[in-house]
C-alpha cells in the first residue's frame, strides 16, 4: 500500500504542502493564532449565565424584615446592590440611564403585613430589554422569595418547611459557561480548518493553474487528493491539542473521559468536514467564492449546532437543520467525553452519525473532485 503511494507521488505532494503551509503566513496564523484567540474570546466573553445584575433598592419599609429580604436576594448572587433610591421616579431614572438593570421595591406596609400574618408584597422591576439578564433577575427573585417565605413560615409554625428541593449541578458544579463553550471551540476550529482553509488551498491550486499542471503528470488522483487533505488533518489535530491544553491551563476545563476515543471520533468529524470543503472547492471558481460559501456553511454550524445556544430552546425547524450538521453530533461527543467521562456506549449514536456523514460526504466529494480534474 505504502509502496503504491510512493510510486504515485504522495510523498512529494505532502512535502510540498508542508513547505507551503509553513510559508503561508495567513494559514499559519489561522493554525496557531486562531485557536488561542478563539479560545480566549469564547471562553471569556461568552457568558450565558448572568450574575451580579446592578440593582438599586427602594426600601419604604425600612424594617428588619425588609433588610432580611434584601440580604437573601443579594445572596442568590444574581443581584449586586449598587445603592438606595428614594422614590419610584428615581427608580425609573436609574434604569433608563442604564445605571441599574433591576430595582427592588419594598412598600411601607411590608413589615406591618408580615406581623399581622398577611401576605406581604415586594416588587422587582427588571430592564427586560436584555432577556438574558431579565430571566436571571426573575429566577433570582423567585428563588429569594420562596426561600424567605418558607423561612418565615417555619418561624411562625415553629416547625420545618414541608418541602425542600435540592439542586445538584452535575458535571459542571460551578455552572461555568466556559466548561460548556470551550469544548465547543475545538469543534468550531476543526470545521474552519478542514472545511474553509482546506477548500481555499484546493481552489488556490486551480486558480494558479498548478492543478492543471499536476493533472498532466503521472501523479495518481488518490495521491493528489490525499496530499491535499492530509496536511489539514494534521493541522486539525494540532489545533485540537492546543485548545485542550490551553483549556486545561487557562479555564481548568476537565478531561474526564478517554482522549484516545475523542481523537478517534475527531477523525470522523474532520473527514466529514473535509468532504464538505472539497465539495465547495469543486463548486466555486475563485478563492473569494470559496470563502463566501465557507462562511455560509459555518454560520448555521455556529448558531444551530448547540455551540452557543442550547438546541432544545430552538424552534423545531432550526433543530432539524441542526440534525444535518456534523458539528451538532461532535459537540455532544466533546462535552460527553471531556465533562462527563462518557464511554462509547453512551455516545455511540453520535459516533455512528459522524462516521456515516464522513463516509457519505467524503465519497461524494472524491467522486466530484475526480470528475472536475479529469
Amino acid at each position: 500500500m505504502l509502496a503504491r503511494f510512493r510510486r504515485a507521488g504522495l510523498w512529494p505532494m505532502l512535502r510540498k504542502e508542508f513547505i507551503q503551509l509553513r510559508r503561508d503566513r495567513l494559514t499559519l496564523a489561522m493554525v496557531v493564532v486562531l485557536p488561542a484567540v478563539q479560545l480566549l474570546l469564547f471562553g471569556y466573553a461568552i457568558r450565558t449565565e448572568v450574575r451580579n445584575l446592578p440593582t438599586v433598592v427602594l426600601d419604604e419599609s425600612q424594617s428588619s424584615e425588609s433588610r432580611a429580604l434584601i440580604d437573601v436576594m443579594r445572596n442568590t448572587g444574581n443581584f449586586r446592590v449598587i445603592g438606595s433610591v428614594a422614590s419610584r421616579a428615581e427608580v425609573r431614572r436609574v434604569i433608563e440611564r442604564g445605571e441599574a438593570s433591576a430595582a427592588v421595591i419594598i412598600p411601607p406596609d411590608f413589615a406591618a403585613n408580615l406581623k399581622r400574618g398577611r401576605s406581604a408584597t415586594a416588587q422587582i422591576v427588571v430592564d427586560a430589554a436584555d432577556p438574558m439578564a431579565a430571566s436571571a433577575a426573575i429566577s433570582g427573585a423567585a428563588l429569594a422569595g420562596a426561600a424567605r417565605s418558607s423561612a418565615i413560615l417555619a418561624q411562625r409554625t415553629g416547625g420545618q418547611p414541608p418541602l425542600e428541593v435540592r439542586v445538584r449541578p452535575w458535571y459542571n458544579p460551578g455552572m461555568r459557561s466556559e466548561a460548556y463553550i470551550v469544548p465547543g471551540v475545538i469543534g468550531v476550529l476543526l470545521s474552519i480548518t478542514s472545511l474553509v482553509v482546506m477548500s481555499l488551498a484546493v481552489v488556490r491550486e486551480r486558480e494558479r493553474g498548478t492543478l492543471e499542471q499536476l493533472v498532466v503528470t503521472p501523479l495518481g488522483r488518490t495521491s493528489l487528493l490525499l496530499g491535499k487533505v492530509l496536511p489539514f488533518v494534521a493541522v486539525g489535530y494540532v489545533q485540537m491539542t492546543v485548545v485542550l491544553v490551553l483549556g486545561k491551563l487557562v479555564f481548568d476545563i476537565p478531561v474526564r473521559g478517554s482522549l484516545l476515543l475523542l481523537y478517534l471520533i475527531a477523525g470522523a468529524f474532520i473527514t466529514a468536514n473535509l468532504g464538505i470543503g472539497l465539495l465547495i472547492s469543486t463548486a466555486v471558481k475563485s478563492q473569494v467564492q470559496a470563502t463566501q460559501l465557507g462562511y455560509f456553511v459555518m454560520l448555521p454550524n455556529i448558531l444551530l449546532s448547540g455551540f452557543m445556544f442550547p438546541r432544545e430552546s430552538m424552534p423545531e425547524i432550526a433543530q432539524w437543520i441542526g440534525l444535518v450538521l456534523p458539528l451538532t453530533y461532535f459537540l455532544t461527543v466533546l462535552r460527553g467525553i471531556l465533562l462527563k467521562s462518557a464511554s462509547l456506549s453512551a455516545i455511540w449514536p453520535e459516533t455512528l452519525a459522524l462516521v456515516t456523514m464522513a463516509t457519505v460526504l467524503f465519497s461524494l466529494s472524491v467522486l466530484r473532485f475526480r470528475k472536475t480534474v479529469e
Binding site: 510510486r7 507521488g9 510523498w11 512529494p12 505532494m13 512535502r15 510540498k16 513547505i19 507551503q20 510559508r23 503561508d24 494558479r208 493553474g209 498548478t210 492543471e212 499542471q213 499536476l214 493533472v215 498532466v216 503528470t217 503521472p218 501523479l219 479529469e374
Partner: protein, 255 residues
C-alpha cells in the same frame, strides 16, 4: 517490437484523425487531422479562439475529445492516458508554478512527481539548472521571478523527466525579446536531442522558426506545411499576411 506499426509509431509523434471538441453548442475544434513527426518543432498558429489551446489540452489529456482518435508518442489518447502522461511534458501560459516555493523546490517537486528519487533526482536538478542557467536564482521564490525566468523555470519543471514530447501553449507570452531568443535556442537543443515539440504561438517570428506549421481558424485546420509553403497556398507573400487575412475573414464572419 519490430512490426511495421511500431516503426511508424516511432516516426510519428502525434497523429490525429477527425479530432473534434464541442462545449455545449460551441464547436471549438472540428475534424482535425494532424501529423507531427518525431523530433520536429511543430507550430500551431491561429487567431485567438481558433482552437489552439483546446487542441493542446486534448492531446495532453486535460480535455476528452468529443469525437475522433489520436495517438501521442505511439499511445492511444483514449485508452493509454497514464502511458502518455509519463512521456509528455506540458507548459501552459501560466507556467503552472508554485509562487510560494523556491526555484529549486519547484523543480524538485515536479521531478519527484515524475518518479525521480534520491541521487538521480539530485543529478537531474543540477543538470537542469545548468542547461537553463537557473543556478543564480535557485533559492528565490518563483512568485518573485520576472516573466523570462518563470518561463525557463516552467520549462525545467515540464522537462524534468526527459519527456519524448513537449507541449508548449503560448510559452513566450509576456516575455522580453532576449529571453524569447534564448528560449528558442533551448527548444532547438531539446529537439536535437530527439524531443518532439508542439508549440502554439501568434508571434510571426516564432512561427518562422518552426519546421512545420498548422494554421487553425475557427476550429478548422486550414493549412499545414513549412513556413515557406503556406503563404503560397493562400496567394500571400508572408505568413503574417496569411494570418491577418484569416483574422479579417473570421471577424467578418462573426459580425
Amino acid at each position: 517490437m519490430s512490426t511495421a506499426l511500431d516503426t511508424v509509431a516511432t516516426e510519428v509523434a502525434v497523429q490525429t484523425r477527425g479530432l473534434r471538441k464541442t462545449f455545449g453548442p460551441v464547436v471549438a475544434v472540428e475534424g482535425l487531422d494532424l501529423e507531427i513527426r518525431r523530433g520536429e518543432v511543430f507550430g500551431v498558429l491561429g487567431p485567438n479562439g481558433s482552437g489552439k489551446t483546446t487542441t493542446i489540452r486534448m492531446l495532453c489529456g486535460l480535455l476528452t475529445p468529443s469525437a475522433g482518435d489520436a495517438t501521442v508518442v505511439g499511445y492511444d489518447l483514449r485508452s493509454q492516458q497514464s502511458e502518455i502522461r509519463r512521456s509528455i511534458g506540458y507548459m501552459s501560459q501560466r507556467f503552472g508554478l508554485y509562487d510560494d516555493l523556491t526555484v529549486r523546490e519547484n523543480v524538485r517537486f515536479y521531478a519527484a512527481v515524475y518518479g525521480l528519487r534520491g541521487a538521480a533526482l539530485d543529478a537531474r536538478i543540477v543538470e537542469l539548472f545548468e542547461q537553463l542557467e537557473l543556478t543564480p536564482r535557485a533559492e528565490q521564490l518563483a512568485g518573485k521571478l520576472s516573466g523570462g525566468w518563470k518561463q525557463k523555470l516552467g520549462l525545467a519543471c515540464a522537462t524534468a523527466h526527459h519527456p519524448k514530447m513537449l507541449f508548449l501553449d503560448e510559452p513566450t507570452a509576456g516575455v522580453d525579446p532576449a529571453a524569447r531568443r534564448r528560449f528558442w535556442e533551448i527548444i532547438y537543443d531539446l529537439a536535437r536531442d530527439g524531443t518532439t515539440v508542439l508549440v502554439t504561438t501568434h508571434y510571426m517570428d516564432e512561427a518562422a522558426r518552426c519546421q512545420r506549421l498548422a494554421f487553425l481558424s475557427r476550429g478548422h485546420l486550414i493549412a499545414q506545411g513549412t513556413a515557406a509553403e503556406i503563404p503560397a497556398q493562400f496567394g500571400e507573400r508572408t505568413i503574417e499576411d496569411v494570418f491577418i487575412e484569416l483574422q479579417r475573414r473570421d471577424e467578418g464572419e462573426a459580425a
